[in-house]
Symmetry: C2
């Protein structure tokens, strides 16, 4: 094949050193500049270059070599800024997420909705974030800020801590899934419809209800609002729980 991309700080079964490197880069202490020659660029420059490449050509185009080319330096020079590719990927992700919207007003439902919608926008704008949100990760400052805002949105709701966190995870998972689905549909080749149609028509007898559902969906034209649909369902479900208590 070709893609691969693979970056994961998750690492099948690595030494723990790698992940602590991620944490160190995401949560730096004081920079301490000292003796040697001044760096040619900054960590942010490196991350920006990597993001630019990912935006333009996808995550698989982001190789250390390519990033170095973009910066006009040699590959190995990058390792003065980043311990490894996993760390670079973590930085890319946290930067791509950005800061959450800071709504302090409104009820929990409106606030949670905008939280989720904004996250959806951010990730849709950078589909490569999908591949970076696989497996156990160390959350960066931005990601934690999202969590904080989300928990804050549920402050007034009669839910305990675990329930708040679970609710946010539920919403975040929905965002992730929706973006993935949308990305698959937009793709001309290998789109959901493109790859399913031939299979479904060839085996229509084995999957009658699925065929019917897709046919109806195509006819209705009511498409690509899968995200909104799911979001409303989730919020309704949370509202039901809250109503049952409040």
């Amino acid at each position: 094949m070709g893609g691969t991309t693979g970056v994961d700080q998750t690492a099948g079964a690595d030494r723990a050193g790698s992940s602590s490197g991620v944490a160190a880069v995401l949560w730096p202490g004081e920079p301490r500049r000292k003796r040697g020659p001044r760096p040619k660029f900054s960590l942010d420059d490196v991350v920006d270059a990597a993001i630019a490449i990912a935006d333009a050509e996808g995550l698989s185009a982001v190789t250390m070599q390519r990033v170095a080319d973009e910066l006009g330096s040699a590959k190995m020079a990058l390792y003065r800024y980043v311990p490894g590719k996993a760390e670079l990927a973590a930085l890319m992700l946290d930067r791509a997420l950005g800061l959450p919207p800071t709504n302090t007003s409104g009820r929990w439902r409106r606030r949670l909705r905008s939280w989720t919608v904004t996250m959806h926008e951010r990730m849709s704008a950078r589909p490569w974030t999908l591949e970076l949100t696989v497996g156990r990760r160390t959350p960066g400052p931005h990601e934690l800020a999202w969590l904080e805002q989300g928990v804050a949105a549920l402050r007034s709701a009669p839910l305990d801590g675990a329930e708040r966190l679970d609710t946010l995870a539920l919403l975040a998972n929905h965002v992730r899934g929706s973006v993935e689905q949308a990305a698959a549909i937009d793709q001309p080749e290998t789109s959901l419809a493109e790859s399913l149609e031939p299979i479904l028509t060839a085996h229509a007898d084995r999957f009658p209800q699925t065929v019917a559902a897709f046919t109806e969906a195509a006819a209705t034209g009511r498409r690509d609002d899968a995200f909104s649909f799911g979001l409303d369902r989730i919020l309704d479900g949370v509202a039901a729980l809250i109503a049952r208590r409040g």
Copy 2:
């Protein structure tokens, strides 16, 4: 770092040939055995070997070389059975999913619930399926069977085709997210708590509500039923929609 694993039939920007290869392997025509020497093993043997390795050592341990070793043959011999690694991965996934539970009885809610719970069990048993459900994929026979069962479960509900599909996607995404989270927690190193604790305590002032939520969650002990929580919320939400119509 180390992991990487990367397999994705998604391939940053490949020729379409790769994905059609996936479809061809997942949905084979008639086998036609002809002239040459009899194959030393079967496609299933190859997939089984790969799955055994993934179960034992994680997906990153599944290399063509390793699979060949397992089978007692040479690496390149595998390419007589599988066009490439992406196809092998697709086969592993479809096999891991297995067939869905076939409940024809009960209301939509009970049926959907067992559908989701079973999927959760399957994927939890094989956490490596997570990494294989990233990006646009060509669904295999088992995966389509799941879809069919899911749509069937919603047969009696007053939802249109798109809504049924969206509901199933919502549930499937929740499963995926839950398994991922659980896998992160179980991991001794890099566990959610392990990596968050030091960060949260170090920056407790910046994320007060998050700290509070985690503290409360830890105190309550009410943990790891994040899956059930989300599932109930989703089903409640769908029920609300249905109630509003029925």
